[in-house]
């Protein structure tokens, strides 16, 4: 899998949201939602993206699909910078890249029978006639384990897990090569979560899809990802393979994150790293290393100098001045 070629390369992606204020409204500040993020997604793999709420995961995913206009950086799909695309070229690209959202309820138009929701993309792209489109919708439905008769029903008639499957079907029907999964199971109960995760895995296997899997639940990420990127406050702090990350995390934040996860095993005894304080605001992120105010091993240097994302071992990048200590 690691030999595969890069499908998407994200380079120095920056997305700031302006904050309006003042007596005459103007931009008084910027939310640095994503601030110089780079990573590569290889064909056929799943890259997990984890981090705490508000650290910019969703923004990365949405900006990659040009659902948000980027502030800076590049996203290359098979070598071509998608931020340069316009008109028909952009429309064509939309077929290649799809997204599944976190909230299964909000992501479906409540007044549309789900068959139409799923088939909408086909209609937009003028793919096939009514019959053919219908057939493809039915096919997509069956892929995610739903039946033909479901096509004429409305979103409110489905359970959360089913709705999430519909969301996946909508992405699938376009025959994309890359799907951003933005916390597709966070809103679901464990038993349903398992069901959706299984489907996602099956589909990837059968259709050769590439995923960017955004989540905050590390266990889920571990279950589905080949590689994992950890984000903290708009920056990537660590990227590596699944195995390496869980076996030997090199960034103190990753370590704390791992130890903070309650394990469903009462016999397990762990040394927990409980972080002090709250996640700072991306409006006014700390200078230097953004993690330093909460970092258990922070030193003087961390508050001044921002650590670069360095490759310490093959395929294992970390942004910490003192990561060597954990090698």
């Amino acid at each position: 899998m690691m030999t595969a070629k890069p499908l998407i390369e994200v380079q120095d992606l920056v997305k700031y949201y302006p904050v309006q204020g003042g007596i005459i409204p103007h931009t008084v500040a910027e939310v640095q939602a994503v601030d110089g993020v780079s990573f590569t997604v290889y064909e056929g793999e799943t890259l997990g993206l984890v981090g705490e709420s508000g650290c910019g995961k969703t923004t990365v995913g949405r900006t990659m699909l040009r659902l948000e206009t980027p502030t800076g950086g590049e996203v290359r799909f098979e070598g071509a910078n998608i931020f340069d695309l316009k008109g028909p070229a952009l429309k064509a690209l939309r077929r290649e890249m799809q997204i599944v959202f976190q909230d299964p309820f909000a992501s479906l138009d409540p007044r549309l029978p789900i068959g139409e929701s799923i088939g909408e993309g086909l209609a937009i792209h003028g793919m096939g006639n009514g019959r053919e489109r219908y057939e493809r919708v039915i096919e997509a439905l069956s892929r995610v384990g739903l039946e033909r008769y479901h096509a004429t029903r409305y979103p409110h008639e489905f359970s959360g897990g089913q709705r999430q499957r519909i969301g996946i079907a909508r992405a699938l029907v376009m025959n994309p090569r890359f799907i951003v999964l933005d916390e597709p199971v966070s809103a679901l109960d464990v038993s349903i979560q398992a069901e959706v995760l299984n489907i996602l895995k099956d589909l990837q296997r059968n259709m050769g899809l590439t995923y960017l899997f955004v989540a905050h639940n590390l266990a889920v990420v571990e279950h589905i990802s080949d590689r994992v990127a950890v984000m903290y406050l708009g920056k990537i702090v660590e990227v590596t393979t699944r195995a390496a990350l869980f076996r030997k995390p090199l960034h103190p934040y990753t370590q704390a994150l791992l130890s903070a996860i309650p394990m469903p095993d009462p016999t397990l005894k762990r040394d927990r790293v409980i972080l002090k304080g709250d996640v700072p605001s991306p409006l006014n992120p700390p200078k230097g290393c953004r993690f330093h105010p909460r970092c258990p091993i922070a030193e003087e240097r961390c508050s001044v100098e921002e650590p670069a994302l360095r490759e310490l071992e093959s395929g294992h990048q970390v942004a910490c001045h003192f990561a060597e200590r954990f090698l």
């Binding site: 464990v190 994150l257 309650p262």
Partner: protein, 353 residues
Amino acid sequence: MPAKSAAPNGNAPILEVRDLKTYFFTEDGVVKAVDGVDFYVKHGEVLGLVGESGCGKSVTSLSILRLIDRPGEIVGGEVFFEGENLLDRPLDSMVDIRGDRISMIFQQPKSSLNPVFKVGSQIVEVFQIHDEKMDKAVAWEKAVALLKRVGIPDPESKAHAYPHQLSGGQAQRVMIAMAMALQPELLIADEPTTALDVTIQAQILDLIRELNHETNTAVILITHDLGVIAEMADRVAVMYAGQIVEEVSVEGLFKNGLHPYTQGLIKSIPVLGSVQEQLNTIPGSVPNLIDLPAGCRFASRCPARVEHGLSICEEHMPNLLEVAPGHEVRCWLYEDAAGHTAPLKPGKGKKKK
């Protein structure tokens, strides 16, 4: 893992809920949100209450404090608190129990604080409700001390903040401060960390544990996260569709969960560090609480039923029976038709045909 505290008052539970039934009388029909729930909590103990969304965990906890609002109504059962059936009290006098002897924290910390009052005065209110003579200034000082205790940085000035000026974690700490203000004998924490980030969740859970240790407060911890249960609880009650289906010590749950639902639940969580190719799933969905089946509520989704070919499951409701000391299960696999415990091991069920 912290050591589990032993019950000091022998085995007498501080709270015992028997056959609690809380229904919601809606336009579409009667929602049997809680339909015959039994469990107990011992002094100083942490009881975990788990179950899927909508199975009635919150309603159960609200029923204990009789906070159920129309169209809901507690239609039956008993809630013994220190030997007194709370359901027999006049509703007006519940205010003496609430906040003082039993207190509660909720899932959404920010929306659970009144947006138009300063957080300090919301804590002060607790003191003043239960001690009308308490001086406002004294109460305020106590509130600040509490905020400090729950780890709010700069408590003097944060007491003057409004809820929207706090982060979720801070708001939850304020809720906890409010709940522990009068050192209650029982704390009900209804999914206290679901809305919070993992690192903050760890902080809050730590705080609850501390409270449990230091003041020997009994805790009912409601969650759907089995990881949290494993870390926090002494005993666990598993709920399904308005009923307790299994009640057991936390070790027992993970090692020897007997109910097919419990087993399915445990198998469906991805566990950190143990990579599974396929996760186990529980097919089907929770039954409609308005239109409940006559038999076991899990029957339609139960793999054990199919495996054992039990037909009684769909016809009659099994009882919650003690199958081992301190281990109760509601399942026909462990009960015979006479209502006695049947010596059955899962996976070796007798065919009832």
